[in-house]
Every structure is written in structure tokens, then in C-alpha cells.
């Protein structure tokens, strides 16, 4: 475990939809409860099919590469993407570059928002584990090409999850 960077593992079928991750994240980063400013956002295109959507720290960082003003950089210890708000020009190129459109513009200052692991001890994981759901858990593993596979449009994830939950019916609900 020592030496390997952190990562937030996601087990979608365990997500309860409580959205405490959104509350915990925004309490930490925004000092108040603000789900639409949370770096992890739960999508629910059909009730019961909840997908926590957050950065997967792709090993080739397409978002960082796409930024025209170098507002995005990589934290060498945690592997998280770090946003320099002063440099960000809200162009949205990183959102398009991301295979899952994970980043979004902050509802107030319009600067891009991306998970930074809370510096290495993520708040979202704490509340999810505390409640016993374990949809978001902290693991220590080397970055790999697999990461990018998690940067996926949440509706596409939900379509798969729906079939897992509901069988054939799941093909029809989203």
C-alpha cells in the first residue's frame, strides 16, 4: 500500500442515492452544502439507478492536454488533476476532451471543477463508508490504462446498471 497513489473506487450498484458525497465534498471545498458545486455528482436517470460521476484520473490526462491556457496540472503525489482558477477561461474544452464529460463549470464563478482527492483523504469516501454503503472506497493502486474506462458518460453507465438491477426491463427504463 505504501508508495502507491490513492484512487476512489466506485461500485455503482451499492450507491444508495443519499448524495452525502455531494454534501461532504461541497462542505469541504465550498464551506456549505452545494450539490451542484460538488466534484462528485450523482446522476439518476431512472429511480434506483444511481451513478456517482467523478474524475477517474485517466493515465493520459486528455483534459490537461486540451487546456489552451495550461490551467490544469497534475498533482505528482496524488495523481489528481489540479485546477488553477485564476488561469481558467471557462472555455469548456476540458469537458469535451474528457471521455465522460466529468468536469463542469462552477455554478457561481464558472471556473471548471474537478476532483482533487481533497489532497489525498477524500471526504466523499468517508461518508459513504461511514454509512456502510461502500459505493465509493479508497484504494491504493498504480495508475493504469483502466482508469480511462471509468471516465464514461453517466447515462451510458446507468443503462448498463439498469440491466444489472432489473434484467431485461432495464433496457427500457432509460
Amino acid at each position: 500500500m505504501t508508495g502507491k497513489p490513492v484512487w476512489i473506487a466506485r461500485d455503482y450498484s451499492k450507491c444508495s442515492g443519499c448524495r452525502r458525497c455531494e454534501i461532504a465534498c461541497s462542505l469541504y471545498h465550498e464551506d456549505w452544502m452545494w450539490p451542484e458545486a460538488s466534484r462528485v455528482r450523482v446522476f439518476m436517470p431512472f429511480p434506483g439507478v444511481e451513478v456517482p460521476h467523478l474524475c477517474a484520473q485517466c493515465d493520459d490526462y486528455p483534459c490537461v492536454k486540451s487546456c489552451p491556457v495550461e490551467a490544469l496540472s497534475i498533482d505528482q503525489t496524488t495523481t489528481a488533476v489540479i485546477v488553477n482558477k485564476e488561469k481558467c477561461i471557462s472555455c469548456g474544452k476540458c469537458i469535451t476532451a474528457c471521455p465522460g464529460q466529468v468536469p463542469f463549470l462552477h455554478p457561481k464563478d464558472n471556473k471548471v471543477v474537478i476532483c482533487d482527492f481533497c489532497g489525498g483523504d477524500p471526504e466523499c469516501v468517508k461518508v459513504c463508508v461511514e454509512a456502510g454503503y461502500d459505493a465509493l472506497t479508497l484504494v491504493h493502486e498504480e495508475q493504469s490504462v483502466n482508469r480511462k474506462l471509468f471516465a464514461r458518460n453517466p447515462i451510458e453507465v446507468a443503462k448498463d446498471l439498469a440491466v444489472n438491477l432489473f434484467g431485461e426491463k432495464g433496457e427500457k427504463v432509460i
Binding site: 463542469f104 432489473f166 434484467g167
Partner: protein, 619 residues
């Protein structure tokens, strides 16, 4: 505006096709809080002494969907629906757990107040930009699942079009009605998230009467700011700790009660309450869980009780049905009350009921009533178009549709159990009132009073201003004022309230609003104020029925029949106790011996403007 509130309410006039922002004074908010309390105040202020003339299904009724100051910030966000009830002719604070409530607050609104009637089916969309009315012709007639699927897609696409470069838009929160509400089935619910419902009161029919298919909310703002944020952050953690460590409903929800309330407390409705005890082990919780539960912890916004579980039938003739566990009330009403003791059949009927937008309690209460009339030969195959035998899930599915579409005898049954009983008695020349299990028009929840072993007793329903509503029973005119009356007004979920020390809840309320809130004040002032206002409206009633004080402040006739079976065989509700406790109850709140609020009480509670209307109710 005090803290905890988003700052404004959306008022929509569907006749004029106008939407505008309004506010209420700080003193009104402090006195009535939100949700149920505020709804009662708004309804009285706007309708006043004309109350008896207003047809609950006409354009002069008002539909309200209100949050309270604790919604979303305290665990378990809920919306409170209200208006003049088509069932009781009073008003009920009818709540449902839903992200619609948190989205409304994030959009900057504490509630939506809808007047008039749209000329065509519409839905209301609430965003950070305000409220607007949109056409719902393409979703009118659709079942719950399809309504959600279509609106989620449509609204997300629309919002993306309006603000395209901000990243992925998430789906909105939605409250909606199904065909039952559209066709003005008096017991129809306001639905959300396929299986959550604001079920008591018949507010789905009120929405339907306004051609209002849904209200949709999506906001990107903060949860409203509070008076003492550092205190709230700490209290938030504490409340969740209690829910996670101590809540009884985490693991199994209420889904094991379908067996226990029958076998243990002998208070479960079976075949229209003809019995209340059973020992059908095939109807036990583990049999639902093992075969059908696909999600074991399902929550709504900011909730860790996560009492909900999701059931899905993956094989056999009901393949594809999705509903919640079902929760106990539907395990009873969509199950044992219809003579159904098979988990799969119960899940199927629950899913049908949910999709049609029937109330899962009130609708099947009428269905069970109809089945007893069939059993007794009062109603026949001619009335239904099919046979209606106990336990026949296919027949009860057909009946649910018959009522939702108001076809054949369904048209009369759609009037709710009480009015249907009156009509059928007339029609068939047989007195069927003894078989109607309701209190003041509102069908009784799945907890009987005859065994005295459950939490419902003598005056629980009889004295309650919300009739048969099992979530808000009368206790002693004091204790209950800080339970359901409070949670329905704060608008938070009861299952995030039980197991939390009351002092913690009320400290939370104070830290959010800055109001000098204590449990004692709720028990002595706020609660009695709200309930007294509700009582006045209930007794004013009209236009088709006025309840008779004392006579109608009573249990249904069936609850005085001795239990026919089980360990509590022979027991029944004690009439003498009902009379004694009812009279004490009235006295405690400050109503006269007929339960009419006295002039002094109205004065004391800040309701002096009711005196003229209430004077007419006194002997």
C-alpha cells in the same frame, strides 16, 4: 427572510397562464414554519369563509407543494402537498420523499402554489431562472415510469440547450400524477420516483383537476444558508450518527412487517379488515428479500436511514415489475387486504398501483371494500365485468385500472370509499356503510386499533384532523404536536426523525432558522395552532359533506366488531375509552366538548380571525 428558507415561493395561475415570485412575512413563517402548517395558513388566508363553497376538484381550489426550512439541510428531504382535500373537505399535509424538494430549494424556491386551471395539460418547470408553464399533452395519460423517463430526458435536453457549455446537466426532481389523478380519482396520489407518494388527502386528483401533469425542478444554487452554519455542520454529523447506528429501519425497512403486523400485533388489514391476524409464513420479509430485493439500501436526499429497498420481478408472469420493497403499508393494502399472500403478486399490484398514480393505501382500501361487497353479493360480475375473488391478483389489477379510468362501477369507486359507500347504498338499496373503513373521508392506514397491541389505539384516528392518516395520529393533544405536525411542517422524513433525540432535532431547527424553537413551544403553541386551524377547516367542510362533531370523530364501524381470530380474538376497540379520551383530547387542545375550537383558544393561538367562521360551528 429568515434563514433556512430559499427566499421566495412560486405562484402559478394556470387560468391566466402566469407565474410570479411571492414571499410571506417573517412572523407568518415563524408561526407556521412551512409545509403542513404554512399550507393551512395560506389556504385559510386565501379562501377564508368561502371554504365550504369551494369544490376541491374545481378551479377555485389551490394546490400547494411546499418545503420547510429544514428540508434538504436536515436528513431526509421531503415535499408537502396540500390543498382542500377531495376526501375530507378539510386539509391534509401529505408528504413524499423526493429530490424535487431539494432541487426546488437549490432553484431558489421554498414552494409552489398553483391556482386556477389550465385549458390543456401542462407541467410547471422551476429553475434558477424562475417558473414557467410547459405543454404536457405528450405525457398526459402516461404511466409513472414513462412519465419520469420522458421528462428526465426532455428537461435535461432543454436545460442543456439553454446553457450548453457548463458540463453535463443532471436530471431534475419531479412530482407527477398518473391516470388516476388525471381522471380525478378522489384518492389519487401525487407521485415521485416511481414508488414514493404523497398519498393521503387525494391531492393527485387536485392536480388532475387543474390539468397539471407534473411539477419539475432543477436548480444549481446552494442549499439555503442557515443561521448558525458551524453548529449545523456538527449537528448534521450527530444526526447521521444516530441514524446509522440506531435506526431500526435501516436493514429491512418496514418490509418485514407484512408478516409481523399480522402475526404479532394482529392489526393488519385482511380482506377489508374482516380479520387482522394471520400466520402466513410465506408472506414473511425474508421471502420478499431473497427473491426480489435488488437494491438493499435506497435513500433520498441527505438520508442515511435508507429504509427503502427496491424490488424487481425478473421472471414469471409479472416479469419486469419494479417497486420498492414494498413498504409495509402496501404489503398490507396491496396484499393481505386483498386476500393476497404471495410476495410476487403483492409486488405486482404495488407496481400497478404506483404506475397508475393511485394512493397505495387509499386506493386499495376502496378495492378491498369493493371486494367485500362482491363477497356479500351486493356487487356482482355485472358491475365489474369480471369476478372479483379475494387473492386474485389479476382481478385486482383489472379493478385498479377500472377505477383509474372510471369505467363501470369504477366510476363510483373512484369517489373514495366513503362516497362510494353512500352511492352504492342508494343504488343497491342495501346499507353498506358498515363496510367502509374510513375516518372523515380518509381511508385508514394499515394499523388497526382492535388488538390495542400496535401503536394505534382508541382515538388515534377518531380524533385526528387528518382522519385515517396513520402517519399523524392523535395521542394526547400534546405529544403528537412535536412529531408528525412538526415533521410535516419542517418537511423532513419521519424515518430520519425517529431514533434521533428530540433535543437534537429541535436544536437543529433553531440553528437553521434562528427562531427560538423548542419542543415545548411546538407542543404548546405551534402544533396546537396548526391543528386547530386544520380542525376548523375540517369542520367547515363542504360542499358535498359536513362532518358531524363527535359522531364523525369516531372509528369506522368495523373497528368495533370483535376480532374473529388469532391471539387477540374477541378484542375490539373500547367505545368508552374512545369517548373518555376524545373528550380529554379536545379539552387539552382547548376545544369545546364537541371539539369545536373555543374563542379563547383561537385568541391564544393567534387565530382570532377564524372566530366568525367557527362561531357557526358551535351549538
Amino acid at each position: 427572510m429568515p434563514r433556512g428558507y430559499a427566499g421566495k415561493f412560486l405562484e402559478v395561475d394556470l387560468t391566466k397562464e402566469e407565474a410570479r415570485d411571492i414571499t410571506f412575512s417573517d412572523s407568518v413563517l415563524e408561526a407556521y414554519f412551512g409545509g403542513r402548517g404554512l399550507a393551512a395558513k395560506i389556504l385559510w388566508d386565501r379562501i377564508g369563509e368561502k371554504w365550504p363553497e369551494v369544490d376541491p376538484l374545481g378551479p377555485n381550489n389551490i394546490f400547494l407543494a411546499l418545503t420547510g426550512p429544514m428540508t434538504a439541510v436536515y436528513p431526509g428531504a421531503r415535499i408537502c402537498c396540500s390543498g382542500k382535500s377531495p376526501l375530507s373537505n378539510g386539509m391534509v399535509g401529505s408528504t413524499a420523499s423526493t429530490e424535487f424538494a431539494s432541487e426546488l430549494k437549490m432553484a431558489g424556491y421554498d414552494g409552489v402554489i398553483v391556482t386556477g386551471k389550465a385549458s390543456n395539460p401542462v407541467y410547471i418547470l422551476v429553475t434558477d431562472e424562475g417558473g414557467e408553464i410547459r405543454s404536457a399533452g405528450h405525457i398526459w395519460g402516461k404511466l409513472g415510469e414513462d412519465t419520469i423517463r420522458i421528462l428526465n430526458k426532455e428537461v435535461t435536453e432543454e436545460l442543456t440547450k439553454r446553457r450548453p457549455n457548463v458540463g453535463l446537466w443532471r436530471e431534475p426532481g419531479i412530482i407527477y400524477i398518473g391516470p388516476a389523478g388525471e381522471n380525478l380519482v378522489r384518492t389519487a396520489a401525487v407521485m415521485t420516483k416511481i414508488c414514493h407518494a404523497a398519498g393521503y388527502g387525494g391531492y393527485g386528483a387536485v392536480m388532475g383537476s387543474k390539468n397539471l401533469k407534473a411539477i419539475v425542478a432543477k436548480g444549481r444554487g446552494k442549499i439555503p444558508e442557515v443561521d448558525a452554519p458551524e453548529a449545523v455542520k456538527l449537528l448534521w454529523k450527530e444526526v447521521h450518527r444516530h441514524l446509522i447506528e440506531e435506526s431500526d429501519f435501516r436493514r429491512m425497512g418496514t418490509g418485514y412487517a407484512g408478516y409481523m403486523v399480522g402475526a404479532d400485533t394482529s392489526s393488519e388489514p385482511i380482506r377489508n379488515w374482516q380479520e387482522e391476524w394471520h400466520d402466513e409464513k410465506r408472506y414473511g420479509g425474508p421471502l420478499f428479500e431473497t427473491r426480489y430485493w435488488v437494491k438493499k439500501y435506497w435513500a433520498d436526499f441527505n438520508c442515511t436511514t435508507s429504509c427503502m429497498k427496491i424490488s424487481c420481478i425478473k421472471s414469471g408472469r409479472w416479469k419486469g415489475d419494479i417497486t420498492d420493497m414494498p413498504d409495509y403499508e402496501l404489503e398490507a393494502y396491496c396484499g393481505t387486504n386483498l386476500g393476497i399472500f404471495d410476495p410476487g403478486d403483492n409486488i405486482h399490484i404495488s407496481a400497478v398501483i404506483d404506475n397508475l398514480g393511485h394512493s397505495g393505501i387509499n386506493g386499495p382500501n376502496t378495492m378491498g371494500f369493493a371486494a367485500e361487497l362482491y363477497q356479500r353479493g351486493v356487487l356482482t360480475k355485472e358491475d365489474f365485468g369480471f369476478e372479483l375473488k379475494w387473492g386474485d391478483a389479476e382481478a385486482f389489477e383489472k379493478l385498479a385500472w377500472l377505477i383509474a379510468k372510471r369505467e363501470r362501477i369504477g366510476d363510483i369507486l373512484a369517489e373514495g370509499t366513503f362516497r362510494a359507500a353512500v352511492k352504492i347504498s342508494e343504488m343497491k338499496g342495501v346499507d353498506v356503510m358498515p363496510y367502509a373503513v374510513h375516518v372523515k373521508g380518509i381511508e385508514v392506514g394499515a394499523h388497526g386499533t382492535r388488538s390495542d397491541a400496535d401503536y394505534t389505539h382508541d382515538i388515534s384516528y377518531a380524533a385526528s384532523v387528518q382522519g385515517g392518516d396513520h402517519t399523524s395520529v392523535a395521542v394526547d393533544g400534546y405529544t403528537e404536536m412535536s412529531s408528525a405536525v412538526f415533521t410535516d411542517s419542517a418537511v423532513i422524513c419521519n424515518f430520519c426523525f425517529f431514533w434521533v433525540p428530540r433535543s437534537l432535532v429541535f436544536d437543529f431547527a433553531k440553528a437553521v432558522t434562528g427562531f427560538p424553537i423548542t419542543m415545548e413551544r411546538w407542543r404548546k403553541e405551534h402544533g396546537p395552532r396548526i391543528v386547530t386551524l386544520q380542525r376548523a377547516l375540517l369542520l367547515m367542510g363542504g360542499p358535498d359533506i359536513e362532518w358531524r362533531p363527535i359522531e364523525d370523530d369516531d372509528n369506522p364501524p368495523r373497528f368495533y366488531e370483535p376480532l374473529p381470530s388469532g391471539p387477540h380474538k374477541g378484542k375490539t376497540t373500547d367505545r368508552e375509552l374512545v369517548e373518555k379520551k376524545r373528550s380529554t383530547y379536545f379539552e387539552t387542545i382547548g376545544w369545546d366538548e364537541r371539539g369545536v375550537p373555543t374563542k379563547e383558544t383561537l385568541q391564544k393561538l393567534g387565530l382570532a380571525d377564524l372566530e366568525r367562521a367557527v362561531r357557526n360551528l358551535r351549538k
